[in-house]
Each structure stands twice: as C-alpha cells, then as structure tokens.
C-alpha cells in the first residue's frame, strides 16, 4: 500500500517544505496561528506521513491504518498541512482555516477533520488515549501502530507520566510517541517553566525505547522512526525526543524573539513565503 496518493517520487525534503508552505498559507488566512510550531515540526510530520505511516488518503478511517494522535491540539495548523500534503484534506480547504463552518478549526477536534483522531486543546490527553488505542489494536491482533505527537510543555502534566508508566507496564510496542522539544511554552522556555531534563534518562528509566534526535534533521528523524518501528514485537513503547527550532525554514522567524504565540505582522506572511521560496528543495 502506498502512503500517499500523489507524487510518489517526491523527496522528504520537498514534503517538509510543502507542509511549511501550506501552514504559512493557512496562517495568512487568519493573520495568526501557531506558525512557529508548524515550521518546527514539519520535518517530523513529513517523515511520519511520507516515510513511516501506513494509510489510505481516500479512506481516512481505513481499519488497517496507523493512527496519528495530535495531543497538542494547537499544532492543528501543522497537522492540517500534513493532511493536505497527504491528500486526506483537499488543498482548497486551506483557505477556510479557522473560519466559521470550516473543517479546519484552530484547535484540532476529532469530529471536524478527516484524519484527526482525537480532540486536543486541553493538553496532556493524547498519551492516555494512545494507551487505550494501543491496547485496542493489540486486542484486535492488528499490526497497526499508534503515533502520538505532544509538546515539551505537556511534560508538566501528571497524566502524561501516568500514561508513560502504563505504556511500559502493558508493553505497548505498537506505540511511537514523539515529543517536540522546542523549549517554548505559554509562560516562557519550557525548561525554566518546569525542569524536565534529563529527559532521555527519565523516559528510559520508565522502560521506554528512547531516542533523542535533531527534529529538523530529516536523516536523523527518518532513522529514529525506522528504529522505533523495529521495536514492534519487542515489548517496549518508543519515544522520539525531537529537539526542534521554532520558525525553522524561515530565517527571520527563526531569529524572532521566541514566544509561544509569535506575532507575525500582516505584511510578513508574504515575506515568509518568499523566504521559504528561496529555500525550495528540488
């Protein structure tokens, strides 16, 4: 089964670039959005949707699909961009982002969008749901995997650690969790809001197969997904700790004073697109 309906020979670099472009176009529609996060996570999403995961774009609820749970619902703009690139959401819907009656609300919700498996918004929910889905898939003797993306700020939530403990207890080797460590949450740098390092040691101590990668290095991210997938059958859940750079791919946004919700002036959306265009991969 192919993983995408369109452009089989498109490089991961170009997929990531397209995801960034879709996200910027959506941000421009609303004049706001968690665009810096979308840019930082584009490489992870490109790898998930165009290297790792199994799905059918024309049948988002296909039983044999891998599940992707977006725990950090405010990253919806990034996931919509990936779903558009994957052919699950039509590209023309991008213009409806955040508008009344749109299937693409600013925070991801299960009932609104094809390919959106859970309702986020309230942080710290995704890993618990993922535990249930993994238990369910094992009951069904399915070889599908559950991927879940969450943010470093969510590490503050106790429920995340409840889920981390239980995933190891139940030997959920069909679970691949990715935490986006961009070190930015609502009140400031995540590590200063609540110290969570040494994160690799902590997750490993909970019994997970744990990898830490540069989340904006496609080669590293791809290898990490491959290694995590190889854990299936070995009795351990997998965690990919992805260190990312907010605004990645648009230099003036990378350099902007870091903020959870970065301000992009009206004229800057065009500038961002232009900056991205200069870095267009083959």
């Amino acid at each position: 089964m192919s993983t995408a309906s369109i452009g089989h020979n498109v490089s991961l670099e170009r997929r990531a670039w397209n995801i960034r472009r879709h996200a910027i176009l959506m941000g421009e529609v609303q004049g706001q959005g968690y665009i810096a996060q979308a840019l930082d996570i584009a490489d992870v999403l490109a790898t998930a949707y165009f290297h790792a995961m199994r799905y059918r774009p024309d049948d988002p609820e296909w039983e044999g699909r891998d599940r992707f749970l977006l725990s950090n619902g405010h990253y919806a703009i990034a996931l919509y961009a990936a779903l558009i690139e994957a052919g699950i959401v039509p590209e023309e819907e991008l213009e409806s982002y955040g508008s009344d009656e749109s299937r693409l609300p600013m925070s991801g919700m299960a009932s609104y969008t094809p390919g959106m498996e859970m309702s986020g918004g309230s942080l710290g929910l995704g890993l618990s749901i993922a535990v249930g889905k993994c238990l369910g898939l094992k009951r069904k003797r399915s070889d599908s995997r559950v991927y879940t993306l969450f943010s470093d700020g969510e590490l503050d939530e106790g429920s995340v650690w409840e889920a981390i403990m239980s995933a190891a207890h139940y030997k959920l080797d069909n679970l691949i969790a990715i935490v986006d460590v961009n070190n930015q949450q609502a009140d400031g740098p995540s590590t200063s809001v609540m110290a969570f390092e040494p994160l690799t040691d902590k997750i490993e101590a909970f019994g997970w197969f744990t990898q830490r990668v540069d989340g904006n290095d496609l080669g590293e991210v791809r290898d990490a997904f491959d290694a995590a997938k190889a854990q299936h059958g070995r009795g351990k859940p997998s965690m990919i700790i992805a260190d990312t750079l907010m605004g990645k791919g648009v230099p003036f946004l990378e350099a902007r004073e870091k903020n959870h919700f970065i301000r992009v002036e009206g004229h800057e959306w065009e500038l961002a697109l232009a900056a991205l265009e200069e870095r267009k991969p083959a």
Binding site: M109, A110, S111, E117, M118, S119, G121, S122, G124, L125, L127, S128, I129, A130, V131, G132, K133, C134, L135, G136, L137, R139, K140, G158, S159, E162, A163, M165, S166, H169
Partner: protein, 342 residues
C-alpha cells in the same frame, strides 16, 4: 461549624447503647433485615459481556470496591487494571472505545467527577465515545468525609453534553440498567451501589427503561419525585406516612439525564399535591433543580419542596447518623413532610 461527627462512634461507654462506627468504604446501604443481593453490577456485567464481546472492564485500583473484580475473575483477559490513575483510566477508555470496544470504567464517584472531569469531558463526551462510567459511593454513601462523598456528581455530569446520567435505586434496577447502558451507544454515567445491595423494586413490578420515570405508587396529598436510594427512602416514608393518614405518591426518576419531562409534568400537573423532590445529592444542580427548572419553564406551579444534602462539606461518621443529620433518612423525610403539610 461542623459538628463533631465521630462522637457517637467513639463514645462507646453508654450502657446498652449500640456503638455506631464510621461506615467508611465497606458499608452496605441496606438497613438491618432488608432483603439484598450481592454485587448486582458485577454479576450483571458478566452476563452482558457473555452476549457482547466488545465489553471490557477497566478500573483505577478499585476493582474490588466497585464489584468489577467479579467481571475480572470471569474475563481476566478483558479486564484492565490502570493503576491509581483516573485521568489515564478515562483517556485510555476513550482510546479503546475509538477502536470499537465498549469499556466499562469504574472508580469512586468523587474521582470520576472531580479529578478526571476534563478527561471525561474532552476524550469521552466531546468525542462521543461509547464509554460506560460506573462509580461507587455516590452522594452520601460513605462516612469517610468529603474526600469520598460525591455530593455533586450529578450536577457535574448533568452539565456535560452527550452524557447520560443514571441514579439507580436497588439491585434489580442496577442489573437492568447495566443491560440498558450496554444497548445505548454513547457515554453513560451510572451511580453504583455495591456489596450487599437492597432489593426493593421487585415488589412494584418495576422494570428500568432508559430515560423513563415510573410511578411506583399513587397518592393524592404528596408526590415524591426521587432517584437512587432516595426512592427506597421515599417508599418507606410513604408507607410510614400512612399511619398519619397522609397519602403519598412516589415517582421514581432513575435517569437524571435525559429527564423524562413528560412524566414529571403530568405528575406535577395534578392539582392539590405537595411536590417533594428527594435526592442523595447536594441541593445544587441535581434532580431537584432539574425538576424545578422544568416546572418553571412549563408554567406548572405546585407547592414545591426539596430534600437533599446541604451546600456544605459533610461530616465523617456513621451513615445512619449522617442521614438523620442531613435530612435524608426515612424518619427525617417523614418529619419534614408533616411540617410542610402543617
């Protein structure tokens, strides 16, 4: 000021006076000599699971205290111990439901309603997942103090869209409600009585129907509208009031949401009856206010009174003592009704 609740329990020196101990978690709500059935929920769930292989049991370290261990013994491979982690319990239940299963998740009512509220709201109710939430120690059925007294669970779950809320009276009703909630597709909150559970409604030829109120006895002076164990108390009170030549009807409303508005309006429209809503719950936001709001909206204005728990943190102590003190014992109900009738 909170009265010293355990004085009765710890006194112990009074000649011949029974020592009432704090009925913490293992007490039965049954009065002495009352007919009971053991663990009706656990046994009914086993029956349901024999017919429906999507049924799973889940708990947060309270299997034995919610009668779910009976299911766990019958179906060990369909039983998930999630540890003492209620947020995880309900999030994982949502995930299992999304994969086509019907998780029945148990804990104490306080923990589902207070600790895990957002998880239930977002991962179960908002996503409309087929999860059954079954919770022990509803209202004032523990003498352990506010940490275990779920006096506001109905108000909280009534406020949640998509949630069906059931407050069963006895063992018979629990058995039938388990079957009914299995048939209903969507989230359900079921208040649980466990251990030796009183058997009352079989005498009334009763059968539970989701969303339906049932008139258990008629009477022309007083109309009790009640749910849960308060229906048992209302029936006892109605019988006792016969000695005072007071004729009382009892309308049992086990489904708090959706409310059987037609049955309530019809019963309340009959002229000349004092309407008394009786609930094992704070007077804020439960059955009493649900009925009051309905009557106001529909322009039906009987003389209306509420029996329920006060808006305060309740004391620890022996349940009979507490039920008397807070006005939900049979004796207390009779006294109030006689006062109201003048």
């Amino acid at each position: 000021m909170k009265p010293a609740a355990t004085k009765v329990a710890s006194g112990g020196s009074g000649a011949g006076k029974p020592r009432l101990t704090t009925s913490a978690m293992i007490a039965s709500i049954a009065s002495e000599g009352q007919r009971t059935k053991p663990a009706p929920f656990g046994h009914a769930l086993v029956e349901l699971a024999r017919q429906d292989d999507t049924i799973l049991g889940m708990t947060a370290d309270l299997g034995k205290y919610t009668d779910l261990h009976i299911f766990g013994q019958a179906f060990p491979d369909r039983y998930y111990q999630m540890g003492m982690a209620e947020q995880l319990l309900f999030g994982a239940a949502s995930g299992l439901a999304a994969e086509g299963f019907t998780p029945v998740a148990t804990t104490y009512a306080v923990f589902a309603s207070r600790r895990a509220y957002d998880f239930i709201h977002q991962t179960i109710a908002e996503e409309d997942r087929n999860v059954k939430i079954v919770c022990a120690l509803p209202g004032l059925t523990s003498g352990y103090g506010p940490s275990h007294q779920a006096t506001e669970d109905l108000a909280l779950f009534r406020a949640m869209p998509n949630m069906v809320v059931i407050d069963p009276c006895d063992a018979l009703e629990i058995e039938q409600a388990v079957t009914a909630m299995g048939r209903h597709k969507g989230p359900v909150y079921l208040r649980l009585l466990r251990g030796q559970v009183p058997l009352v409604l079989d005498e009334y030829g009763y059968s539970f129907e989701l969303g339906k109120a049932k008139m258990l006895r008629d009477g022309y002076e007083v109309l009790f509208i009640s749910s849960g164990i308060m229906t048992m108390r209302a029936l006892e009170a109605a019988k006792a009031l016969e000695n005072d030549r007071i004729d009382a009807a009892v309308l049992h409303v086990p489904t708090i949401k959706p409310l059987d508005t037609a049955a309530i309006l019809e019963a309340c429209s009959r002229p000349g009856r004092l309407v008394v809503v009786a609930e094992n719950h704070t007077v804020n936001g439960g059955l009493g206010e649900a009925v009051a709001g309905l009557l106001m909206r529909e322009g039906v204005h009987p003389v209306f009174r509420m029996i329920g728990l006060p808006d305060e943190f309740l004391a620890a102590g022996a349940l009979p003592t507490l039920h008397d003190r807070y006005g939900i014992s049979t004796g207390a109900i009779c006294n109030r009704v006689k006062e109201w009738l003048g």
